[in-house]
Symmetry: D2
Subunit: 310 residues, 4 copies
Amino acid sequence: MPLTEAQLAEIAVQRKVVGTTRRATVPALEALLFTAVPLLDHGFVRVIDYMGDDGAIVQAARVSYGRGTRRVSEDAGLIRYLMRHRHSTPFEMCEIKLHVKLPIFVARQWIRHRMANVNEYSARYSVMDREFYIPAPEQLAAQSAVNRQGRGAVLQGDEAAEVLTLLRDDAARNYDHYIHMLNEAPDGTPADEGRRGLARELARMNLTLNAYTQWYWKTDLHNLLNFCALRADPHAQYEIRVYADAILEMVRAWVPAAHEAFCDYRLGAATLSAQMLAVVRRRLAGEAVEQPSSGLSKREWTELETLLGP
Amino acid sequence: MPLTEAQLAEIAVQRKVVGTTRRATVPALEALLFTAVPLLDHGFVRVIDYMGDDGAIVQAARVSYGRGTRRVSEDAGLIRYLMRHRHSTPFEMCEIKLHVKLPIFVARQWIRHRMANVNEYSARYSVMDREFYIPAPEQLAAQSAVNRQGRGAVLQGDEAAEVLTLLRDDAARNYDHYIHMLNEAPDGTPADEGRRGLARELARMNLTLNAYTQWYWKTDLHNLLNFCALRADPHAQYEIRVYADAILEMVRAWVPAAHEAFCDYRLGAATLSAQMLAVVRRRLAGEAVEQPSSGLSKREWTELETLLGP
Amino acid sequence: MPLTEAQLAEIAVQRKVVGTTRRATVPALEALLFTAVPLLDHGFVRVIDYMGDDGAIVQAARVSYGRGTRRVSEDAGLIRYLMRHRHSTPFEMCEIKLHVKLPIFVARQWIRHRMANVNEYSARYSVMDREFYIPAPEQLAAQSAVNRQGRGAVLQGDEAAEVLTLLRDDAARNYDHYIHMLNEAPDGTPADEGRRGLARELARMNLTLNAYTQWYWKTDLHNLLNFCALRADPHAQYEIRVYADAILEMVRAWVPAAHEAFCDYRLGAATLSAQMLAVVRRRLAGEAVEQPSSGLSKREWTELETLLGP
Amino acid sequence: MPLTEAQLAEIAVQRKVVGTTRRATVPALEALLFTAVPLLDHGFVRVIDYMGDDGAIVQAARVSYGRGTRRVSEDAGLIRYLMRHRHSTPFEMCEIKLHVKLPIFVARQWIRHRMANVNEYSARYSVMDREFYIPAPEQLAAQSAVNRQGRGAVLQGDEAAEVLTLLRDDAARNYDHYIHMLNEAPDGTPADEGRRGLARELARMNLTLNAYTQWYWKTDLHNLLNFCALRADPHAQYEIRVYADAILEMVRAWVPAAHEAFCDYRLGAATLSAQMLAVVRRRLAGEAVEQPSSGLSKREWTELETLLGP
């Protein structure tokens, strides 16, 4: 379970506090507020705060004085237009803040999205929890034979068992040595009077990359959707994809019209190169185009076949 | 008056809508929400939305699970510490959205603050209002004799009168010609059937730089304070300073602890160079330092004198 | 002519200075260095400095120790792969600095590209030149009847003549009044001893939006291509498109492989929505799809027809 | 030694290639180009490319047409003025690209500087080297008793020896298990035919945070100086400070005038709060101020004493 009883209680208390506001509110997202969505074996993502709704997108696009009296269908139409034509600034008018617990190797991918605000739990200042990510057996994949940065078949039998044992033992041992070197009792005094204890900022280097960290992460809807487009993609590593998928469900509750437009014009869409478009035109005109005369490389040809196949 | 009756009515309607939320709310800022603070002759700034409060700053700095049970004084102490040591990320956890109406030459300075989200009223798409900034007589300053980018004494008599007339006439004439070239009646049909009307994206080039534009502008507290530090400074041009001053009052209502820390450690603070610090140390040790032996240029010497003088 | 004799001489002198360097150099871009490409009636763009070449893109993608010994064709293949899969960071490894002279209303669109470094000529500090953009007759377009932010047919006869006269007279008069209010002789003394002269930061507001400004603008190749994708698009306003087109020619000289990949995978490519892809699949399977049963709006249907038509 | 013979040879080859350019060149930085400055036990930083020099800063500040004919002393004076008054944009006109090899826990601090371009060696795609950071004995510090995120006295005797053994053994074992799980011979075939090998993107999670990674990192001078101001500070962790110190030496070779101004107005300077300034004024006026009546907290009082003490 990713959260302790004390943390769950703290969240429950916070969920009971309700105030009044003149700001746009989204009941479907309010219902999710603060509650942790568990991910992987010890991770989670939860919404801490948000600003704006579907209406805020159209309000900004129109630079209007009030919330407007247009019908929902008109607003949705405008949102679809903005998404289709890659107008990014109206989507930047919505903001969301998440609290995320995630393995460090996932955090290192995530942080590459620069257009966000981050406050991470500091291992210079505090002691890390004894939690590390161990893949579920069905995620224990072999290296892909065709893709240098992908996964192949799931490992089986002895090999799988050995890998799990190594990952578990190494992470546990390194964590225990980390605590030993710190020599800190929970109340901050030395655990062993005969030792001074290694500085936290040094001891942390003994942890493994599957140790869990956590942060507050805040970004606008435009950059959030960029994150989802990249990280909910089938080519993204599974361990970050589960976070992107969970966030997309939050987006659906928060800004349903923007979510639908995003699914149609980004997630489910595909970009065809100049050469691919030429092939499609020829085929629609009745020509039986083959790869050698297509102007496409074999790799691109396969991509196009996959895209347009039945 | 910067807003029309219809706009004021729209705002009044919006202010009456109150919802419930689990998010942090700030009653002092809720009281200001949507209401336009008039600035210059036709400008304004108004808060459209906000995220977070003083508590959100400390919550992120601690990466905590709930709102916490610390006392307000502890939180204020932490906020002062963070501000003093230039920790920027916790302040990025608060976000505000403003609707601003401002002269174009002010907008051109403002937009240089890149870490913000902007949606501006489009003169490619819409017709601009007949509003332009004319300085109040007490703001009609001569060029400074000592500062190449500052103001000197206020213009008087005939010269002042002539300047005001030129500014008014030129802005009005150019706007009227803009409308004439557009040849658009308020309902979008041609005002004069014999003409086609110049494209909006072209006609706008006839407007003067004191024409008013407006935008939705959203940024986080850290970048907002950077804006205020630069633009509420006495060296900033008066016409943007009034906006920064008004925004600082909003910050005071929104995050009072952060506002106080900002006043003490940024607005009211001063940075002393290595050489200035050496001079202060020598003087505190009883030495009567003069400029030639100070290691400071005359200009820096004067700056230091001003800073430390009675 | 956009540059004075003195400026041309200064550029000629600078072009004669040649040094040696261990850095990657691009002879085709060196040949263009500093020379102004004239645009519109008084504008220009010229390359001031650059960092990197096609090789720098692949070097960063491989995080290699030297320039590598791969063949040019391998590098081009990798660049095409990176562009096709929207890997942005390797393209960020190339940087370019431009000196641009452009009308203020164009500068206001341009500055929206935030991921760039800008130093603009300051009208608070200096006096502006007497130059303003007047469209060539063939660019004097009417408002489009079908696109709220586009141009229609070219204005003719009296209407065109009147528009040109208004634009010219208003810009000239406002500039002359600007100079009059400044009351500054070229040597900085008052032109007219009886007046003090209005502060530069105020007088500038009388200028029109077609007055020319200039700036140094520096950005990386990834963001430069984003700029070009948006501003070289047929929907961009003509007056900024000419700058994007000129910059694309510089890109072709600088990083020919990246330029070719950009043309194939961005400029000449098209994104098909989920619904559009479904239509194409049905048509390729022999079905005669019509708009009502296509799942596309009429507008999208037309866009798809245009895209796939002969 | 941080580089292999093959890498050193590749660098030597690259250093021999000299071309001609019209761009600004800096001989003192050319002399350093490509050569790795060794840091920690296996790390390094080396300059890969640069754009601009001291002259580029003033050229942009003046938006001039050529390199200008001002004397070096005038340029240095302007650079000092710009630095003193925190004008950031002229310093953004210089750009530098570094190749850095660094422990992952250092990389995680470094990446927080968002205004930079990064290409990191990918452990999804490639196999990591067998290199991890082990502190030198004199860096093996205890946790500070007064600063929650600082170091205290150096560990001695058995405790030091045990810590070193644990760090070494755990990193080595985890790396060896990483390689075992990968089951990849150097030529890419399975090392052990009976196993499929764990996917690289999974196996990497077994590495420790002191494993070395490497990246190409590119940023502008303004953001580079921000990095140095924060990371060359005595409060920064030693393991990142050595990188900042080495980079500052590169800055000194590259832009000597900017470097000197930075040392005087940033590194060696101090910001005094409103309350601190009041104390200094009272003391300069002859008053013997004590902490209780100073308006400063005990902590701030100590900071001020340290700053102004002999």
